[in-house]
Subunit: 341 residues, 2 copies
């Protein structure tokens, strides 16, 4: 028996003892707060926090391992948007105990797996019980190495090109598929997707892709890093609430407007076909669906863009417009609002 | 009109715009993550996270300003226990919108007031809506100035004196008073306490004191700072879950036992009288009531103790016992368990 094993049946202590053993030598847990290793001279620390509420940001039935991975991913995306390197995480996990109990060990296993893949150390946590809802909040601390300037939302100037990484709308299509009964579960140690009844075979591949894009977003850390070193970058941010909400934020921060060319939005062909079956307009999902976790950024004209990015418009002096069929219309404002009743 | 004012009625953006204006020039908000100012050479960062759930950790009716102050206080107590100086806070606030809506501005006002009093800068946040419950999670980052060693839970050795700051049990008595109908509200800009019906006049003062001790704990930052500079300090931690839960944690971390003298526990005389009316055993509240936010620490024999602290026993080789009427009994293990169903 080690001294670290709690007596008297305190469940919190039993879980934290397991966690410390799981983390092994040199872990940062065990005191009232964690003393973080010193950063190299000239490095700056970057901090962000994001919550995931079961039933709001993710399906209530999502496996704890996947829920935990997703929580880290959305936080990593914020660091990607700053061009920072992820270092330490602190998790506050408030969840049911007893009936409807969350498998907290599975949650931590998922988080620690994903942390290990991203060079992140768990540096603290808080455990609490709720009646029904699982709310997990992750604080992620990153590092801007000496000499690296952060990407910011300000810095866009009229004349800059407006760029986005990857494709848009697929995550929202994934959410719609889940609403129509698609499920993800684990069988024999592998994750498997069950697709909604009636989905034609030709949509199997894009449907799976959309579901994974939604449940397991891949933060653009490499792109963020590349952008910090690229002369000619203006502003940058990640697309978490949808272009319709996030582009106006970038424009407000920079004091500029923008013109987006609807035909230039990067929509995968298979995604557009899938939208037909979903009875959803691809443009709506791309603009207002949210949770793309792509990077949105501006480049001075003539700047060679990074691979895999699309120019979707340009920065203007004022007003944000959407160019559809050659006609500029007011930009939609129907992206995700975290406080909308 | 400033460019920072959102159009389109996004409530999250309206709140964050208000917040940035409230914080003024040089605020750290507005990007996907905050770039923190560099620490002086040799300083180390210390990180902790704590949640407060309305109806679990605090009364559901508690005014948002007080709830926010309490959230900061419990986090400050963790930094006090490390001997660190508070620097930056990140708040994740998940609360109802629409019916039963939380007054988020009042919450932020309370937080920012308390942050200002403690030299803390708000460095980030996350806003989400829940159906009913308000869950607030604060991450607090502190600084261990160059040359200052953190207080730790390990470091207690057999023969050390066991010490505690302030008095114990009053916070728990305050919680019992609230359960019996005591309320705290604001009238004409001042906070007022309404005491439970039938409370005799002579208990008015200790009752108010207990209620405030529960709702507005005062973290022991000065004591933590003093202890870091005191040769002869062994282990230290804050008492958040009650001596019955927290002392075993300190002992496990240090690999030691302890003997606590029940007659030496610092119980205010007025608190003991109040317990008679509450029909509660003072010793039970002092051991298992929780939320004292005193510091528990060990000192090498002969070390002059800081002011306002009491020696409640000693560190032993093994086993934790409670000395009652000269007889050692097994130490109770009925403190607060955050995961008990």
């Amino acid at each position: 028996m080690t001294h670290d094993e709690p007596k008297g049946g305190n469940r919190e202590d039993a879980l934290t003892a397991w966690l410390r053993q799981r983390l092994g030598e040199g872990h940062l847990l065990g005191d009232d707060a964690a003393v973080l290793p010193e950063l190299p001279a000239g490095s700056r620390m970057v901090a962000t926090v994001d919550s995931q509420i079961a039933g709001v940001h993710q399906p209530a039935w999502l496996a704890p391992r996947l829920a935990a991975r997703r929580l880290l991913a959305v936080n990593l995306s914020d660091l990607a948007a700053m061009g920072a390197e992820p270092r330490h995480a602190l998790l506050a996990l408030s969840a049911p105990t007893g009936e409807g109990e969350l498998d907290r060990k599975a949650y931590f296993e998922g988080l620690l797996e994903a942390c290990a893949e991203n060079g992140v150390t768990l540096a603290g946590g808080d455990l609490a019980r709720t009646a029904e809802t699982t709310i997990a909040t992750l604080t992620l601390l990153g590092e801007l190495p000496a000499g690296r300037e952060p990407l910011r939302r300000l810095g866009a100037e009229a004349g800059h090109g407006l760029w986005v990484s990857g494709t848009l709308g697929e995550s929202a299509a994934g959410r719609l598929l889940l609403a129509r009964g698609a499920r993800v579960g684990s069988e024999g140690g592998r994750w498997g997707v069950t697709l909604p009844d009636g989905l034609p075979d030709e949509f199997t591949f894009p449907a799976r892709q959309a579901i994974w894009r939604h449940l397991a977003p891949e933060p653009e850390l490499a792109l963020g890093r590349a952008l910090t070193g690229l002369p000619g970058v203006g502003a940058a941010m990640d697309l978490s609430d949808g272009l319709a909400t996030d582009l106006p934020r970038l424009c407000r921060a920079s004091g500029v407007g923008a013109e987006v060319d609807a035909t230039a939005l990067p929509l995968a062909a298979a995604f557009q076909d899938l939208c037909t079956w979903l009875d959803a307009a691809p443009l709506d999902l791309a603009l207002a669906g949210g949770e793309d976790y792509s990077l949105l950024f501006t480049l001075r004209p003539g700047t060679p863009p990074p691979m895999g990015c699309s120019r979707i418009g340009r920065i203007t002096e004022d007003d944000i417009t959407l160019l559809e069929d050659g006609t500029p219309r007011p930009f939609p404002t129907n992206g995700w609002d975290h406080l909308s009743p």
